[in-house]
Symmetry: C2
Subunit: 301 residues, 2 copies
């Protein structure tokens, strides 16, 4: 299995690669410190510590740093959001949902273990995310605000709702751009925005900065989805670590199917420009977030 | 479908029946206030607002009241814990888990809707519980402590771990009383204790009172499980609203199979006495918790 570090190193910068390593170590230490059933631990570890870009935790940390906060202050929220992301991947891959067999180049959790273990590993990661957020983020009133933010982004008006809408669209088809954007905004956009917002909250950002980071998050989130759709057509199964052309072959509405490939690329580039423009008020401190935005566009997996 | 109120009214007292109605109304209002996909809302509503004893929310409220707090202060935590309980029932009933077809007298969530909807309804309730706890419990530092308590009781060292151990025991068999108690302590005991602890935290109880309520919770939790095992043998399928003799017919280790029926009843009575003894320091304010403890023993469903 490729490590998270191998996946990201060189793509953004050495600074980011070091952060990915720190996130990885922190996630591992959380699992090590807790005394829970061995097979549950194994299933959680398999998905949480396997290959992954760690985009959401990096966004939490770099958002916090961009507002003057420290990596260590952002780390618990960074870990929590990665757990939420990982829970969603495990449950989305289940036979009753998207029924996927490959994730990040490895058999999906329910194939490697069992359906029951995969459901429980997902439930466990979702719960653990809130435990870490509530106990490790300081001060406690910021922890409560971060729990609320994460729950809202992950839950019934956010990511869970997005998966419901996505499953429905599988059956009845997506009719319009508005519907497509509404799905993605909830399924991936809200959690990416939450990553930025969590980092900003922890560093005690002012309202103007929070709004700037939120707009950056919205633009990057949509660009990320367009890039994902493009990778589904042009990507390499080996690099992607999952099946390609799944969407295209299923006749699913995607940005390239709606706009064509060149216009989709252009739209994604525009969004990244807008994202970078949004955070100009951060000055030099915003440079890493700018680089990260460009990475979203250039990634090949 | 019998309402929660019909189920509980008269069994404890009019006071409790009124509380159950308030909890029911509060849970309904949470679902009404949020704009989420219609079929997700329907699946969540079906399980959350259907018949149920509402034991955990009542414990939160009466624990809070016993320490001098108000019903309104305890209500968000009461709702959150019922959502967590409900999430666990939906996921435990899934085909990949216990594969149950009847719950509270109605088809289980995945039979009434679909497996995908049931998984997502469970995920949605789990997430919503933390959202309500983090935003509605006051002050925020108590909200953070309550989120941590709930996550720990529900998660990888609590309820989720209990379900993992229970599924394992289904395969390999439970060998000893210690193993049986370890499963129940995590699967049901931790969440019942958390209910007491949440109420106490919200009412700002001192350490001695918290410990007394914790011991009450441990005793009531174990008595509850013994009563459940007894109901599996002697219960009425109609009143129970789920299959009976499931455990007995599967040769599962239960308290009655280990100790016999009379001794199990005696042990449960002793535990209830110990529970009531634990909270003597609360004086008159503890009377409702005493009555609730006795109800656990006398319930017929």
């Amino acid at each position: 299995m490729g490590t998270a570090t191998e996946e990201t190193a060189g793509l953004v910068s050495d600074v980011t690669a070091t952060l990915v390593e720190s996130v990885q170590a922190y996630l591992g230490s959380i699992l090590d410190q807790r005394d829970f059933p061995a097979n549950l631990a194994e299933a959680m570890r398999y998905s949480l510590l396997g290959a992954g870009k760690r985009l959401r935790p990096i966004l939490v940390i770099q958002s916090c740093q961009a507002v003057g906060g420290k990596v260590s202050e952002a780390m618990p929220a960074a870990a929590a959001i990665e757990m939420i992301h990982c829970f969603s991947l495990i449950h989305d891959d289940l036979p009753a949902m998207d029924d996927d067999d490959l994730r990040r180049g490895q058999p999906t959790n329910h194939l490697r273990f069992s359906e029951a273990q995969a459901i429980l590993a997902g439930d466990g990661l979702l719960t653990l995310a809130f435990e870490i957020m509530a106990t490790e983020v300081q001060p406690p009133e910021v922890a409560a605000a971060c729990c609320a933010e994460l729950a809202s982004a992950a839950g019934v008006v956010g990511m869970v709702a997005g998966q419901v809408a996505d499953l429905e669209a599988e059956k009845s088809g997506v009719a319009s751009l508005e519907q497509l954007e509404a799905i993605h905004r909830r399924k991936t956009g809200r959690l990416l925005c939450a990553a930025l917002s969590l980092g900003a909250r922890i560093a005690d950002a002012d309202t103007e900065t929070c709004e700037a980071l939120d707009n950056y998050g919205k633009c990057v989130g949509l660009a990320f989805q367009i890039a994902d759709d493009l990778l589904d057509i042009t990507g390499d199964r080996h690099k992607m670590g999952k099946g390609v052309r799944k969407d295209a072959d299923h006749g699913k509405l995607t940005y390239p199917s709606l706009w064509g490939e060149p216009q989709s690329r252009q739209k994604a580039r525009q969004l990244i420009e807008e994202a970078c423009h949004s955070i100009e008020l951060l000055g030099e401190r915003g440079r890493r977030l700018e680089a990260l935005a460009h990475f979203v566009l250039q990634r090949d997996h």
